[in-house]
């Protein structure tokens, strides 16, 4: 029966184009697919916590397809950025997120759009999950006027409502995140702030200052360390006297989470958000994850780790493959469905690339704008005394 339908849908696809085939597949879903399943997820290591997130996660078909779509979009977008960088259409810094998609997707699945999030420079994935389109992200990377920051920010400085970038200075975003959490507490809207940093930033002094104040004032801050095992070219063993990043908050409770499993990340984030919303103060999560690319596009990423290691993670722990296999093995979706989603995403990324490579650069008149907010126009000195430029808010 299933193969019959598959044959019919393929035939219809070829004859009439995609739409008819899709309708066949959709009607198939109600009858044949499992609408919801429960999966075992890895137990989290706990620090100063009596109990942790559940060890089973429920996943509906819709959720699964949505998480897949999100992760695959981020993956394809990052690979496209890689391509554009090699073609020199993207310049400067470009820190890619492929391999870590489960973190961004899992976190977003557990928080509300009205919650807040701030991260460091490996930010494209979060920029997407926080609501910015692939088009606006790629156009910002290529420095065009259609970019989310009108081409003035670049890879590390993209913003959206309740998303505070994109921050270039390692570790500086952590006190900022604690401050956003302070605002959440002050304004009493039951919102939390997710404050991300890497294993490299975990050794910055200002983090410990933030931990202290967040704990002292019980700020609703979820500190999340994305431990991808390397701070640029330095492995965690060579940088940290203690690599138990989830314990580094000392008096702050912590969880160590499998960051390659989107369900694990989601459950842990849900647990953490509940903790903060209950007024218990900050909490730390360490997501154990991996980046396929080097630190940035100027780092091949193989001088400090082996190709075998990278390949092993790709084949055994890829977040997207893991989710797909889970859903297929529980008959929650079909191979064709995933293929279709892949095709859709590829198309979306291609269209975004088209825009990002054809949109014009920002006009020179924009050069001095946005120095001050809500300010009368002012004059800005150019490169010589005769160059008097105009700046508006």
């Amino acid at each position: 029966m299933k193969t019959m339908l598959a044959i019919i849908s393929n035939a219809l696809c070829r004859m009439t184009g995609r739409n008819a085939g899709a309708r066949v597949v959709v009607s198939r879903s109600f009858a044949d697919f499992t609408p919801q399943a429960t999966f075992d997820i890895k137990k989290c290591d706990l620090h100063r916590l009596e109990e942790g997130p559940p060890v089973k996660a429920e996943l509906t078909r819709e959720q699964g397809l949505q998480y897949y779509r999100t992760m695959q979009t981020v993956r394809r977008m990052e690979l496209k950025a890689d391509q554009l960088y090699k073609q020199k259409i993207i310049r400067g810094f470009c820190h890619l997120y492929d391999g870590q998609e489960a973190c961004a997707a899992g976190i977003e699945a557990a928080i509300n759009p009205s919650d807040h999030l701030i991260t460091a420079y490996r930010a494209h994935g979060y920029t997407y999950t926080r609501g910015v389109s692939v088009k606006e992200i790629l156009a910002e990377l290529t420095g065009r006027r259609g970019g989310v920051a009108k081409g003035k920010g670049g890879s590390m400085h993209m913003y959206a409502p309740h998303f505070y970038g994109g921050n270039g200075i390692v570790g500086a975003q952590v006190p900022l995140g604690a401050g956003i959490a302070l605002a959440c507490q002050y304004q009493g809207k039951n919102q939390v702030c997710v404050t991300l940093y890497g294993d490299g930033a975990a050794n910055q002094g200002q983090l410990f200052e933030s931990y202290n104040m967040a704990a002292l004032w019980k700020l609703p801050c979820i500190f999340i360390c994305e431990n991808n095992k390397y701070g640029m070219g330095t492995s965690v063993e060579r940088a940290a006297a203690s690599t138990d990043y989830y314990k580094r908050g000392d008096f702050i409770p912590g969880l160590r989470v499998d960051g390659m499993d989107v369900l694990c990340v989601r459950e842990a984030t849900q647990f953490a958000a509940d903790h903060c919303r209950a007024g218990k103060g900050p909490i730390i999560m360490e997501l154990q994850t991996y980046r396929y690319h080097g630190h940035s596009m100027s780092d091949p990423g193989v001088s400090y780790r082996t190709r075998e290691e990278i390949q092993e993670v790709r084949s055994k722990s890829d977040p997207i493959s893991m989710l797909k296999e889970r859903m297929l093995s529980h008959n929650m979706a079909s191979v064709e469905e995933f293929k279709e989603i892949d095709i859709e995403i590829r198309k979306q990324v291609e269209e975004a690339t088209q825009f990002a490579t054809s949109d014009p650069e920002p006009p020179l008149e924009e050069l001095c704008n946005h120095i001050f907010s809500k300010n009368p126009p002012l004059e800005v000195r150019g490169t010589s005394p005769w160059s008097k430029l105009k700046s508006v808010s």
Binding site: A149, K152, P175, L176, G179, Q206, I371, S373, P385
Partner: protein
Amino acid sequence: MAASLRCFLRSGKNTVSALQLRDFHRSAPAAVQMTVRDALNQAMDEELERDERVFLLGEEVAQYDGAYKVSRGLWKKYGDKRIIDTPISEMGFTGIAVGAAMAGLRPICEFMTFNFSMQAIDQIINSAAKTYYMSAGLQSVPIVFRGPNGASAGVAAQHSQCFAAWYGHCPGLKVVSPWNSEDAKGLLKSAIRDENPVVVLENELLYGVPFEMSEEAQSKDFTIPIGKAKIERQGNSITLVAHSRYVGHCLDAAAVLAKEGIECEVINLRTIRPMDVESIETSVMKTNHLVTVEGGWPQFGIGAEICARIMEGPAFNYLDSPVTRVTGVDIPMPYAKILEDHSLPQVKDIIFSVKKTLNI
């Protein structure tokens, strides 16, 4: 004592008449005497009351009433939520203040002195000042950084640096430097109401000095525009430009020079960035001579910037002599009183420089 007496006498003309019996037709405006400390306190009190998003954080600002008592009484009135004592963690609490500003609050971040702001300068410049530009207007940072700047008395090298030039260098920041109580209140209120990061460079030696506050200045809505200098004294012989404490020194020097027939025009910069160069130019085109006075070091300082700007503008052709800069001595601040006194501009140095500039 002598300084405050001089200030009283200088600004006392209205006060004396206020002390006399009032006559409806001829009474002077009801001015009062207020110290800079109280003016700053009043400014913060009024803004805290006016807008519930405003809050103050810093070391000892709450229960200690402020290291220099500038925030006296505020914690008692507004409580823990609005007046927050921080641990000694400048980088951390400055970042927290900037993050709070990004998320919709209007923090006043106090540095016990600006010397300690150096530990947090990354948050001030990279997280606060540059963000509106980097985000092309998506993310504003309405924050005030305030505290005592420059030399105090006997606090030696690590506690005496003037940061006007450092902060004045950076686009995206506004930097103000009040002299008297009206300046202090008006500029701080403007800073708090401004949507942008503003650095308010106060002066510890001025905190206890009383100045006249006009009736207008006593109003809850009294603000002074950021970016506009004030002519404190009119004159035709020479222009003196200063900020903060040295405005007082210039006025003292002007009083002495007036006896010799030299009438100085004294300009109180009030704002370091954006600097009101036009006011200086207009004055120089009248007097043909310019002396700048500052407490900071000479290299790459406020005076240096004024010199460059004057040269690039119309006033250059009106100069009868090169601009003279009177600055702090180019050394770390020593401790011994005699050495400290000779590390900073004194009134006699200003008088000397004026006469040299006028070739008298």
